[in-house]
């Protein structure tokens, strides 16, 4: 009796669950964007849905997590069709085959800032539709430093008078020693330092590390002199630099367009200009570019391309993105529309002197060693020559160059 009962239950259940179906897939576009950009995208996705009848889901992600999440999620089929990103992710993403080269951009090259396109290129392929370029420049408090300094030496002269330990005011603050290699690059490049050398065909040679070169060492020495001469306290971090500037206690800082919103809100009167020449050399900062990428595992690539072409590669969108992010638009028509903004013009001029941050995956090995070298120089434990030569050797070692 019991046995029969068991068998009956067994069969009933077995039959019942046969009706369970897996859920079907609809045409939906999934977009990953960060907090700021999402506001702009919201209006666009509504228009897209109205026109094409395709649902668009916007997911807000922490910008810094997007690259690594895409590497896991895209091959698993859970990745976004479109994602926002920074150009220096290109190397890793392409090495893992998770983003798609955008063929249509090849024909639209003339519409975009060539530096932005170069930043997003690996070989001849362009991997994102750029929407912004950025570079750091000199941001000065015009109440404290009314005139644009012609040379860095002039700047330091003015800064000297402003620096008062007792009152807690500073003529100039930089956070290069936080350590923040990104912010230290203009000083390295101004004397001829570089990160990766170039091969004949223009691609980067990962084994030619310029951090150990004379130019880099001279740059580091110059940075060190800023500490020795009392301008910059050794361990100044990014938050310190901007916090003090926004409190009106600093004459000038060197950072990028992302920082001016807070300065504006704090009521500081500021002006932006190129980083002044150092010993006659023009400092060239890193140029970064942000753009929209397409998932190579997406089932909706054509729709994604359409969205990029018709809604993101247009002047109004790029201007809107500029308005929330303060970064120069990459679309030339949008750039022209906002170019009467003096702040923007200054950042753009700074970027024109700069070079794109290397986008090859080997760059991961560089940041740590470079940062450590800066720390050692700032704490005084190593002199610039030793610290940077060691860093270069360490990077070559890690990459297996010898």
């Amino acid at each position: 009796m019991l046995k029969r009962l068991v068998v009956v239950m067994f069969m009933l259940t077995f039959l019942a669950v046969q009706g369970v179906q897996p859920h079907a897939q609809n045409n939906t576009l999934l977009i990953w964007a960060d907090t700021n950009r999402i506001q702009v995208l919201e209006g666009l996705t509504e228009q897209f849905t109205a026109k094409f009848g395709v649902d668009v889901v916007l997911q807000e992600k922490d910008f810094g997590a997007i690259r690594d999440d895409m590497i896991v999620a895209n091959p698993a089929g859970e990745g976004p069709d479109i994602a926002i990103g920074a150009h220096d992710w290109t190397g890793q993403l392409v090495a893992n085959g998770v983003i798609e080269p955008l063929a249509f951009l090849q024909n639209d090259r003339s519409l975009y800032d060539p530096v932005a396109l170069e930043a997003w290129s690996i070989g001849a392929d362009i991997y994102a539709l750029p929407y912004a370029t950025e570079a750091i420049a000199l941001i000065r408090n015009t109440d404290l430093i009314p005139d644009e300094p012609a040379t860095f030496e002039d700047l330091l002269t003015v800064a000297k008078d402003l620096t008062d330990k007792e009152a807690g005011t500073f003529g100039i603050l930089i956070n290069a020693f936080a350590p923040d290699p990104f912010h230290s690059f203009p000083f390295i490049s101004t004397f001829g330092g570089y990160i990766f050398g170039k091969n004949e065909d223009g691609s980067l040679n990962a084994c030619d590390i310029g951090l150990g070169s004379e130019g880099a060492i001279e740059g580091a020495t110059f940075l060190r002199s800023l500490i020795d001469d009392g301008f910059v306290p050794a361990a100044t971090g990014y938050g310190d630099m901007t916090g003090q500037f926004n409190a009106g206690k600093v004459g000038a800082i060197i950072t990028g367009p992302w920082a001016i919103a807070d300065a504006r809100n704090a009521g500081i009167n500021f002006a932006v200009s190129k980083i002044p020449t150092i010993k006659g050399n023009t400092p060239g900062p890193f140029v970064g570019s942000q753009g929209f990428m397409i998932n190579s595992f997406s089932n909706n690539k054509e729709l994604a391309v359409t969205f990029l072409q018709e809604f993101l590669g247009i002047t109004s969108t790029q201007v809107a993105l500029f308005n929330v992010g303060d970064r120069a638009p990459a679309l030339l028509s949008a750039l022209a529309e906002v170019s009467d903004d003096p702040t923007l013009a200054a950042f753009a001029a700074s970027a024109a002197d700069g070079s794109p941050m290397p986008n090859i995956p080997e760059m991961s090995s560089v940041w740590g060693a470079w940062g450590d070298a800066l720390s050692l120089v700032s704490s005084g434990e190593s002199d610039p020559a030793t610290a940077f030569t060691d860093a270069a050797a360490r990077i070559r070692d890690t990459l297996g160059c010898n």
């Binding site: 922490d62 910008f63 999440d69 938050g239 003090q244 950072t255 992302w258």
Partner: protein, 285 residues
């Protein structure tokens, strides 16, 4: 264990405790001050900000993309359910390890503890893929579900919590269980009706520890949850601080303060269990 102390001894105790309270509470006071400071910086330069304003608190609740209230509720819900289940499962396990004499008892429990010491650097990828597969068969247990996340947290139930409880269970006199069984109760009934009420302090302890552990957890939660309405508070807060040059300290501070309130309430409620429930002498004679 305690006897009445003199006034001086008691005063010293109070002083020491107040000193430690200052040590404990100081950073929270600081972030509370930062939350009332309208500027967006954490390095305010002084403890009391020049202007006091609730602008960040208002901002916190006014962005529909960042539903802090919902996030806090999600955190409470997930932490409470998980902790409840963890306490249940842990107590069951502790009872088994304490009362039943079976082979490999101690070794088994210690092996479980040892295994949990494995560094879980890659657990994220493994669990992500696991929930992905699971979600294809049981949609309500997959990625981006609260139930899936709870299931992940349950994985840690049998561990140190069980040990802690087992130690407590060990101190319950065997006679209590034996006399109940003589009266016709099954081991499970003895467990449920007699033992459990006696071990309330340790149940409360495990609940509190699990609750706060899960409430604060953000690494697994941020991998598993992708819709912003499903976020827990810890995951949502990450959006505010992990941009390298874009930390929004103001709202972050306000949210941290508000977010810590639920736990304080839970702790206040459960505090009274942290006193002895053991009645000695109930089986004398």
């Amino acid at each position: 264990m305690y006897k009445r102390s003199g006034f001086l001894a008691m005063s010293i105790r109070h002083l020491v405790i107040w000193f430690l309270i200052a040590f404990a509470v100081f950073p929270i006071v600081w972030i509370g001050m930062a939350s009332l400071n309208p500027s967006n910086s954490l390095i305010t330069g002084g403890l009391i900000p020049r202007q006091l304003s609730f602008v960040h608190y208002i901002e916190m609740f006014s962005n529909p993309r960042h539903p802090f209230g919902l996030w806090i509720w999600n955190s409470i819900k997930i932490a409470a359910i998980s902790s409840f289940l963890i306490v249940l499962m842990s107590a069951l396990g502790a009872y088994a390890f304490s009362r039943f004499r079976f082979k490999g008892r101690r070794a088994g429990l210690l092996t479980l503890l040892l295994i949990q010491m494995f560094p879980q650097m890659l657990a994220l990828v493994a669990l992500y893929l696991l929930l992905l597969s699971l979600g294809e068969f049981v949609p309500w247990l997959g990625l981006n579900t609260h139930t899936g996340l709870i299931l992940v947290y349950l994985g840690g139930a049998l561990g140190f919590n069980t040990w802690l409880m087992k130690g407590y269970f060990d101190t319950i006199p065997k006679e209590l269980v034996e006399s109940a069984m003589i009266d016709g109760a099954t081991p499970f009934q003895a467990y449920w009706r007699i033992i459990l009420p006696l071990v309330k302090p340790i149940l409360a302890v495990v609940f509190i520890l699990s609750f706060i552990g899960i409430y604060s957890e953000f690494i697994l939660a941020s991998i598993i949850l992708s819709d912003s309405e499903k976020y827990t508070l810890a995951v949502g807060l990450r959006l505010f601080v992990f941009g390298q040059y874009s930390t929004r300290w103001g709202v972050f501070s306000a949210a941290s303060i508000v977010g810590s309130v639920p736990f304080m309430i839970i702790f206040l409620l459960l505090q009274r269990f942290l006193v002895s429930g053991l009645t000695r002498g109930s089986t004398k004679g």
